[in-house]
């Protein structure tokens, strides 16, 4: 057992060495760490009652000042407070939606790659169907039908964004299953479940990880877009802040402090996730390994 542990540690060290070589990936990870940390400490250091419009104390659309470092919104709430609390919603939705998408995509991909024949064909046609559907419109319709709420938005993003993951995982599954040792294992009497979980899954896992990281970025953008288009989770998120700034004419009245912070936060987090995802891909994807 200790030998396995030692091997795993070695593999981890190797991974870290390779990842460290990816400069952008490091920056991405640093930015993410800051945002996640802020999101975690926000409830400890700030009072959420400042998000309640009836308790807001500031003037309407006031520019940044000592009391409100990022100014106020149309109801006199602090933009900084909304950004901090919004980061929790945006990140949570981003992570959970990506997780959901990853689970659906991985299960579908491995199943379709493992079982050939008609079941694979059916699964792949369903995947194709989700691929060609305009996913934003589908997510919008889903969110509208299911009604508002965080879980709804997660569901809407998750079920519309898994198709590309499934395709990718299926391709990798096919490649893994073609390896001789899988055949050997099968000859030795390994069942479907054993092959899929013991041989295929560990081999596609790195790819899944890299892909999920990229999916989080996509999910955060989708969440912001949905919120901007009116399907929000009912809580302050960066997307709903952008929407608020549009609805209440922040641009025409020159309230840049209302538009820029949420926009820049979205850009920063999405960029960070993309950097990390690309770096992970470069390290873990066998096809890209050694290229970057």
């Amino acid at each position: 057992m200790s030998e396995t542990a030692a091997r795993r540690r070695r593999a981890l060290m190797r991974f870290w060495r390779d990842y460290r070589a990816q400069r952008a990936g490091l920056y991405g990870a640093a930015i993410l760490a800051v945002f996640v940390l802020l999101a975690l400490v926000t409830p400890l250091v700030t009072d959420p009652s400042g998000l309640d419009v009836t308790k807001a104390t500031g003037p309407k659309m006031a520019p940044p000042s000592a009391q409100f470092p990022l100014g106020t919104d149309e109801s006199g709430r602090s933009i900084l407070l909304m950004i901090l609390w919004g980061s929790r919603v945006s990140l949570l939705i981003g992570f959970l939606a990506a997780l959901l998408s990853m689970v659906i995509g991985t299960v579908t991909g491995i199943t379709a790659g493992h079982f050939r024949g008609w079941s694979s064909a059916v699964l792949m046609r369903i995947t194709d169907w989700f691929l060609v559907l305009p996913s934003l419109v589908l997510a919008l319709v889903l969110a509208a039908i299911l009604g508002g709420g965080t879980s709804t938005i997660i569901l809407a993003i998750g079920v519309t964004s898994w198709a590309a993951t499934a395709r990718l995982i299926r391709a990798q599954t096919l490649a893994v299953e073609a390896r001789p040792y899988v055949e050997r294992s099968r000859v030795l009497g390994a069942g479907h479940w054993h092959v899929m979980t013991r041989h295929v899954l560990p081999n596609v896992a790195p790819l899944v990880l890299a892909n999920t990281t990229l999916t989080v970025a996509g999910a955060i953008v989708t969440e912001s877009t949905l919120a901007f288009l009116g399907a929000d989770a009912g809580q302050a998120s960066w997307g709903s802040m952008l929407r608020g700034s549009y609805d209440w004419g922040a641009v025409t009245s020159g309230a840049w402090w209302y538009v820029l912070p949420p926009g820049l936060c979205i850009v920063a987090v999405v960029l960070a996730f993309t950097f990390c995802g690309r770096a992970l891909e470069a390290v873990l994807n066998p096809r890209l390994r050694g290229v970057a």
Binding site: D52, V53, T54, E74, G148, A231, G234, Y246, W248, G249
Partner: protein, 614 residues
Amino acid sequence: MTRLGGRLAALGLALSLAAFPATAAQAGQARAQAVQEPAEGKRIVRLGAIQAIDSMNPFLAVRVISTSVHRWMYAYLTTPDSKTLQPSPDLAESWQTSDDKLTWTFKIRDTKWSDGTPVTAQDAAWTLNKIMTDDGAKTANGPAVENFESVTASDDRTLVIKTKQPQASMLELPIPIVPKHVWEKVPDVGTYEAEQYPAVGDGPYIAVEHKKNAYVKLKANPAYWRGAPKIDELHVIFYENPEAANVGLKKGDIDWIGRLAGPQFQALAGDPNIVQWNTQGRRASYLQLNPGAATADGEAIGDGHPALKDVKVRQAIHHAIDKKALVDQVQNGLAVPADGSIVPPMYKDFFWQAEGDTRVSFDPARANKILDDAGYKKGADGIRTMPDGDRKLEMRFSIHTEDPIEDKLAQFLTGWLKDIGIQLTTRKLDSNKFTEETGSTALYDIAISGWSVNPDPEEVFATHLCSRRPTAAGEGGGTESFYCNEEYEKLYRQQLAELDRPKRIALMKQMQEKLYTDAPIIAVYYPNNLEGYRKDRITSITPIPEDKGILYGGSGYWPVYSLQAPAGPAPSDDGGAGPFTTAVVATAAGVVVVFGLGLVLMARLRRKGDDDRE
């Protein structure tokens, strides 16, 4: 969906025009033609509307824009007086009622249709009989004739209407009288589009052209019995999106725009050519509190929160709402806090205002006390529970998607109700689903609604009658509250038959008080009527009522009839350009304008830089 469209457009700013749906592009082009047409020395006023005509057939049209255009094209039996809004003669010169209040005799004015045929009582009798007998013709104004026994023309000048029950609102019939000799040839009124131009009418204007979703053009009717209007043409240009219409007004594509939302209205400030018209409105915005919804047969329906059946809970919620803050914060001060019920203060005669002990003030402490005394105990999480069980006071607040004002209102309401131990979650629904859930299936706890009230408010009172609740099959009957109260029903029946105006008004005020204290609905504010027009294009316009009234969307034709405008420039040489050329020229002009604007902006920026350097 127009707001969504606007937002999508904003989101896809970088996308090319080619991405727009073809129909929208075509409508846009047609609109460009309409607004770019040379004026040829005529006096033309162009009204922008954020709504397109649903039908030019007055038997079918229900939208405000359509009924307004029909008001301008066809005379009604009566019209609201321009000062008092009381019924005054229009097509009917005078009228009498029999002693049993069941027979009305109207003397019809001796005037002519725009094709020269005389207007007779036969026209009015045919129009009303058509609505009474043909289900296809009932779409727009069916309920208005429900109580009619018979309508006959005893001679060319005399119209006799017999009713089943006395009907006090007889002088407020919202029905345009159409020419019999034109309309009797129509095989099926229920499907007729009425796209024959020039139309035949007897109002101040006659429609001469209509392009669907783009514009309708009306010409002054020289044969109009009050005398022709002082302008030559009135064009109504339809916009999909309020922002676009606003820009159109600023650029001078249109001369006048009504029914603006607060942000658009405020965006007009500072333009020296534009008059901002801000007067009291005809709308009441209110919350609907599900009072234990039931069908018209009295069978429970829907899933409203049981606590709302308790009038004390509804009154406590009323105490928890700071209406003044809502006006300031949600409506940017462009509304009046509601200390009354469904009739806005614009209708001075009918408006009822709570005073003294009946007046419900913003008082969370009192709201908490009412709930405490009624046995709704607060739990550890600050949320109250039902006195006889453990169901928490967790309620939904249904609003429309794509409405920032309702969204903001929801944020405030959630905050205030939290203070009195009621947890509110906002539920955003698209308008069809919203209508279904708050109108027929009753799947709501608290919902937002509103009503634009007519000079005779009987219609809005009727929306709170037991009989207006949906049938057992779930078909909507038009209830606005699922309210059913014996006392209210009695008052309604009394006012129906009360032909003495002051007595009827007193009854209607009692009904408003009943709604106010029973709180199946809580009026929050009366939004102002916000409009804008260009003073270089419209030199004079009289609102209705004349004292601080409405320009567009009010009742009657007074504002458009009173319009005065300077003559446009003389016809230019390219008057013969075809539609395609015009479109190309318009597009090119648009490109040049945008380019030029960019240059001007850059120049200004640079000049600003120079100024700064002083």
